[in-house]
Amino acid sequence: MKALISKIIYFAAVMTALLISSGASAQVVRVAVAANLQPVIKVLQQDFKKRTGITIEPVSAASGTLATQIRNGAPFDIFMSADTELPKALFKDGFAANAPVVYAQGILILCSRHKVSLKKWWEILLSDKVTRFAIANPAVAPYGKAAEAALKRQGVYDKLKSKMVVGESIGQVNTYISTDAVNAGFTTLAFFRENSSKIPLVGWTIPDNTYPPIEQGMILLKRAEDNAAAIKFYKYIFTAEAKKLIVKYGYHVL
């Protein structure tokens, strides 16, 4: 038993040392990115690394979730939101070093794995072919909010409510669409562009004037105020090279 106890103490000491040492890892820029940016952030990250040698660590979730995490002390340097309201509120409450700047404008589409011959997006949802469709949670995901607005504007929201599956973020909606768990879903043009070569996807653009513009804002967070690498990445997003990539992946830039 004595041997066992000393073994336990030895392991505990080793583990404690490891636990303490884990805090001192190399400096990387941690970017909280809205789930809709997942396809494009990977290319931006690679391009930026090639140009500057700086490593970016993207963490993605629904924008609302990320904003809550930032309020509760999450160690992010930059927040790339899917809207401007959340970063604006963070700036107002002293979490950000600057007021949000719009870096991209999102394009909402309805997407399905099934070939449907109907032309109008809402007719597809109303048809018997669609028994379930997904939208991101409007409370935390701006693309969900836009989809909800478009459905209401078209006057079909109440009729379709029973077919609606609410995903926790746009990422979850994308999972539902690609695994065929739903017949259709509201997602981003970026998702369509990224995946239509791998899986058979059909997309219908939702007219811009049926939902409030999805202006995606970015802020530098307070803790990164003096972080040169973070500032460099922030500025990079507004360069012509980065803009080209953002447009290529299905966004408008201003």
Binding site: I8, L19, S22, Q69, P75
Partner: protein
């Protein structure tokens, strides 16, 4: 495959198991003694993570440790420690989350030991602690083994609590279960499958190991 999430998971489970082995055994011993109202309440609280949704535990820990108010603010301002979105926070959460897996098997094993065992030890002049370490614990080795393995395996599967108070920070709080979730969200099913297979294999080996060990050493399979 990026192995960091696997390593983080094993580290978290390892630390949790070791801390609970040291702190949980005396607690199990205390609980195994004569029943009192206080003990019933304490045991109920310890057992609750078994049935409570992990998001509830995560939510309260988030409130408690948020650096903007209360205890979390005090810890942050006084000691400059922040538990939310840090590995330390995950350790604290796991200790609570996995506590019943350490306590229950040890407690029931201690209760099943004949009373005469400790009485004989006292008669021979041994103190309470000496009796505990040298007489009682060696007699419940199979249960200790089961408790440690189950605690470890259970911590591997932690998800809800981590997502709440740990988030999804690479190299810090992105444990394997979160990495699976993240990979699925990014439609990277190859990565999701790799992480899942590793977790599946580790868990399978551990749980099977417990059953095989117990087949030869214990009286009941989950002792």
């Amino acid at each position: 495959m990026d192995l960091t999430p696997i390593w983080l998971t094993l580290k978290l489970a390892g630390i949790t198991t070791l801390v609970l082995l040291v702190a949980g055994l005396p607690l199990a011993w205390w609980l195994s003694g004569r029943r009192s109202f206080v003990k019933i309440i304490v045991e109920a609280l310890i057992t609750m993570p078994l049935v409570l949704p992990p998001s509830v535990l995560g939510f309260y820990l988030l409130l408690a440790f948020s650096p903007s108010k209360g205890l979390g603010k005090w810890l942050y301002q006084t000691f400059d420690v922040q538990f939310v979105f840090s590995f330390k926070g995950l350790v604290i959460a796991s200790l609570i989350y996995s506590l019943p897996f350490m306590i229950s098997p040890v407690k029931s094993a201690l209760q099943q030991l004949p009373l005469s065992l400790s009485q004989a030890s006292y008669t021979l002049g041994k103190s309470k602690w000496q009796t505990f370490w040298h007489v009682l614990l060696p007699n419940i080795k199979p249960s200790l083994f089961t408790a440690a393995v189950l605690t470890f395996a259970h911590t591997l599967g932690e998800f809800g609590v981590v997502l709440m108070i740990g988030g999804n920070i690479p190299g810090v709080t992105r444990v394997a279960s979160i990495a699976v979730y993240d990979a699925v969200e990014q439609l990277d099913y190859t990565a999701a499958n790799n992480y899942s297979l590793v977790l599946f294999a580790i868990t399978f080996v551990m749980v099977t190991g417990v059953f095989i060990y117990n087949k030869y050493h214990a009286k009941s399979p989950l002792e």
